[in-house]
């Protein structure tokens, strides 16, 4: 493909914008506070990314099919409520955690059933199960704030002297997700369906089952994320998991996943996306931004990043368009710059 030389660097920037944004924000925060750029703080960022990151993995599966799962926060809450109540009742970790994960996965199955069989649009279904799930959680906990026993607070425990458990679980989930998406028929068929659902059906793919699978995966991921979150926070309250869908969707989109399906990946895409979001959050704390202001700033920054991302996609498309004529060279550098500037507008 012939691309004009003066666009090459611009394309490079655009293609790697989330990585560059990452570096840029990192440097910016580091200038404000020297402790920000420490290894320790970096570990904190990764540690804080684990639970949202796991949710974002499941979300990426769903987005790849062109769907959406708004109910992940509620799924987390249901799982959290089941685990906390069972632990309170004296069931051990070995019983509570699997039951909690099962509960969350079942909530995902419920989404899957309504979307793939009853064929209600994902946005409405998951908006409904978000509300219903929150209600269910409140009902079974009576909206109590439940603290969990110490053995559940394993969030800071390092395994094999390597890394804290949440980070390891996150890494494992990323690995499994990458293998599934890239190297299994199921994964490739998800991409195919996201690209063109009609064509997928014509090619003999079982689109009903594929659709169902991604919502179940999303439910499972949210459930695992819930366990990780409890292990770090040490309690389950009525606001547990609230608003996580925004961060998870934003992370996927920042990482290059298209909301229209068929485009995106978990690694590096979604992982970079979530680290970026957590870094912003972490940096705001370092800068001692007012706690109430933080939420707004965070949302604005994420929205801005997603906006840049959307602009980037259309710009890449324009720049990559095949040229009809092979111009000898672009007239003058100054004019070339002006051109790029207008391209940004």
């Amino acid at each position: 493909m012939r691309i004009q030389t003066n666009h090459r660097w611009l394309l490079f920037v655009l293609r790697n914008i989330s990585l560059l944004l990452f570096v840029f924000i990192f440097v910016a925060f580091s200038l404000f506070n020297e402790r920000f750029a420490s290894l320790r703080n970096f570990e904190n960022i990764i540690l804080a990314s684990a639970d949202v990151g796991i949710v974002a993995i499941g979300m990426t599966f769903v987005l790849l099919t062109g769907g959406i799962d708004l109910s992940v926060g509620a799924t987390m809450y249901i799982t959290g409520a089941v685990v906390a109540l069972m632990l309170e009742d004296g069931w051990g970790l070995a019983a509570s955690i699997p039951c909690g994960i099962l509960a969350g996965t079942l909530w995902g199955c419920f989404n899957a059933l309504l979307i793939s069989r009853v064929r209600i649009i994902p946005f409405m279904v998951t908006l409904g199960t978000l509300t219903a799930g929150r209600g269910l959680g409140l009902l079974i906990t009576q909206s109590r704030h439940i603290s969990v026993p110490n053995e559940m607070r394993f969030g800071a425990v390092r395994l094999f002297d390597l890394a804290p458990i949440p980070v390891l679980v996150f890494a494992l989930m990323v690995l499994v997700a990458v293998v599934i998406l890239k190297y299994t028929p199921f994964g490739r068929q998800i991409y195919a369906m996201g690209n063109d659902g009609e064509a997928a059906k014509k090619a003999g793919l079982n689109t009903t089952r594929l659709t169902a699978a991604v919502y179940i995966i999303s439910g499972f991921c949210a459930a695992v994320a819930s366990i990780i979150s409890i292990s770090q926070v040490g309690s389950v309250s009525a606001s547990f998991g609230r608003g996580i869908e925004f961060q998870a969707i934003a992370a996927s989109v920042l990482g290059g996943t298209s909301l229209f399906g068929g485009v995106g990946n978990v690694f590096p895409g979604t992982v970079i996306g979530i680290l970026l979001i957590q870094m912003i959050q972490n940096g705001l704390i370092f800068m001692r931004v007012d706690l109430y202001l933080q939420e707004m700033v965070k949302a604005l920054v994420i929205l801005f990043a997603v906006f840049v991302d959307a602009q980037r996609m259309s710009l890449i498309k324009r720049l990559e368009r095949r040229n009809i004529r092979l111009e000898k060279r672009i007239a003058r550098p100054a004019e070339a710059k002006k051109l790029e500037w207008t391209a940004w507008q």
Binding site: Q4, T184, P185, R188, A192, N195, D196, I324, R325
Partner: protein
């Protein structure tokens, strides 16, 4: 000597009580190329959809190698070795070529659930070689040109061990060179013993490729025989059912000398260079160019869908620099894009909704902007009947259910309802049958007769010669020549288009 691979025996099919296939019987010889022609709505697609397992048939018999054959879905048809290459390709753009070949059944690596990537790559390479496509099987389909994608689709059919390959209008988005290449491949497939069914409105191509030609009209086989029994004229008359004396309607008016659109030194880096021409009121100005000549890109710039670097576009005497489609529409410009499926129509909206789209502001109340539904509906009804759009109920039927020619009339109607003074049409008759073509030319003539200026972009020289007052030839993003009506000459226009450009 008869070695029949496929026999249609008295096939009948109705949709909602309308008979679309009536007692169709066709015998197809193994290793032959069969050209299937007919107007839109003649039943070609339905017949092929039956063969490809997309729809079932009502009665009759289908014999494949003498065995009864009734595929339930495309996957089953593929198992029997029937591959259907649709006009809109069924490839997944975001996947690699190799992945596309095996999407419905990946071979596994040993006993793991993982894809055997090495095997699919090797297999894909082999089939790509058979169609002379020299690209890596790991290439994402997105990065291929339309012609290459078509070949990938052929290779995919071969990878599924197809014995019968159906091509439905395969050349509509190909360049001349790509078309030649496809024809070579088809010849080669034929000598390898594959049976080909070739559907096209481009009769020249059918005449060149086919061993036998089958003509369908109103769901019936009206004529069938070896190629030597046919020429273009007999093909047309048996398709249409009457003798079409002229393919092009008479012009009822003359161009004026009032300039409607003037373009001066228009350039966009890498796309078009130093374009200059004037378009007069009442004139039909043809723009001839092959795929990739910059003709469609020019149209998009003129309508404000794309930017330009230098130059001027003067519409009805007002120079405008930063154009947008909205401004263009306000200045009474209209643009029928070359891609009606994706850009021209809202396929799932009704015919009426599509038609009303551009002219909506005309039917809104001056205060509050509420649509006056009864006025609008009446205008839509008038347009539907004056353009003779064949649709049961314009207010109920979706645009996607219409044939290509009728869809194009809806697109034209949408703009006509806004009374355009400058109309740009880009390949308005692509994928449209002979009868509907004539009607589209008549509509364009009428618009010109009413004083509108028409820019008619096409890659078919014959239709430009038949319809236009003047022809510009484009290539390499430049205007390479201009022909007035008295100078029209097929060979000279082609020569001009192929001339090396841009010194």
């Amino acid at each position: 000597m008869d070695d029949l691979i496929l026999q249609f025996c008295g096939i009948n099919k109705s949709f909602f009580g309308v008979k679309v296939l009536k007692n169709v019987s066709i015998d197809i010889q193994r290793g032959h190329v069969v050209g299937l022609i007919g107007e839109n709505g003649a039943g070609k697609s339905t017949l092929m959809n039956i063969l490809g397992g997309v729809v079932p048939f009502d009665s009759g018999k289908l014999l494949l190698d003498g065995q009864e054959y009734a595929p339930r879905d495309p996957a089953e048809a593929a198992q029997f070795g029937v591959a259907f290459i649709h006009q809109e390709l069924n490839l997944f753009n975001n996947l690699s070529i190799a992945e596309n070949f095996f999407i419905s059944g990946f071979p596994k690596w040993r006993k793991t659930p993982l894809i055997d990537r090495k095997r699919i790559r090797l297999a894909a390479q082999e089939f790509l070689a058979q169609v002379d496509l020299n690209v890596s099987p790991d290439t994402t389909v997105e990065k291929l040109s339309p012609g290459e994608r078509q070949l990938v689709e052929v290779a995919k059919a071969l990878s599924q061990d197809a014995r019968i390959i159906i091509f439905d209008e395969p050349t509509t988005s190909l360049t001349t060179r790509e078309t030649e290449r496809l024809f070579d491949i088809i010849e080669r497939l034929k000598s390898a013993g594959k049976t080909i069914i070739y559907i096209s409105h481009i009769l020249r191509d059918v005449l060149r490729l086919a061993d036998e030609i089958v003509v369908l009209r109103d769901g019936e086989v009206v004529k069938t025989g070896p190629r030597r029994d046919f020429n273009i004229q007999t093909m047309i008359s048996s398709m249409v059912g009457r003798y079409l004396g002229t393919l092009y309607p008479e012009r009822a008016s003359q161009p004026t000398d009032e300039v409607a659109l003037e373009v001066r030194h228009l350039s966009k880096s890498g796309i078009v260079h130093d374009i200059a021409f004037s378009l007069y009121k009442g004139e039909i100005l043809g723009v001839f160019g092959l795929m990739g000549s910059g003709r469609s890109e020019l149209a998009q710039i003129l309508f404000g869908l794309d930017t330009y670097d230098t130059g001027e576009i003067v519409v009805q005497g007002c120079p405008r620099n930063h154009r947008t489609p909205r401004k263009s529409i306000q200045q009474n410009m209209a643009f029928v894009t070359e891609n009606r499926r994706e850009e021209g129509l809202l396929m799932t909206a009704t015919v009426a909704e599509n038609m009303g789209l551009v002219a909506l502001p005309r039917y809104a109340t001056s205060t509050g902007g509420v649509i006056r539904q009864s006025l609008l509906s009446e205008a839509i009804r008038n347009t539907v009947s004056s353009l003779r759009v064949k649709v049961n109920d314009a207010f109920q039927n979706q645009a996607k259910g219409l044939s290509g020619g009728n869809q194009q009339k809806v697109v034209l109607g949408k703009w006509l309802m806004n009374y355009p003074s400058i109309l740009i049409v880009d390949e308005p008759t692509r994928g449209v049958d002979v009868g509907a073509k004539y009607e589209i030319y008549s509509i364009i003539n009428d618009i010109a007769a009413k004083g509108a200026a028409v820019l008619f972009i096409s890659s078919e020289i014959e239709e430009l010669i038949g319809v236009c007052d003047r022809i510009l030839v484009m290539g390499f993003g430049e205007i390479l020549g201009q022909f007035s009506k008295s100078e029209f000459n097929r060979e000279r226009i082609l020569q001009t288009a192929f001339r090396e450009g841009g010194k």
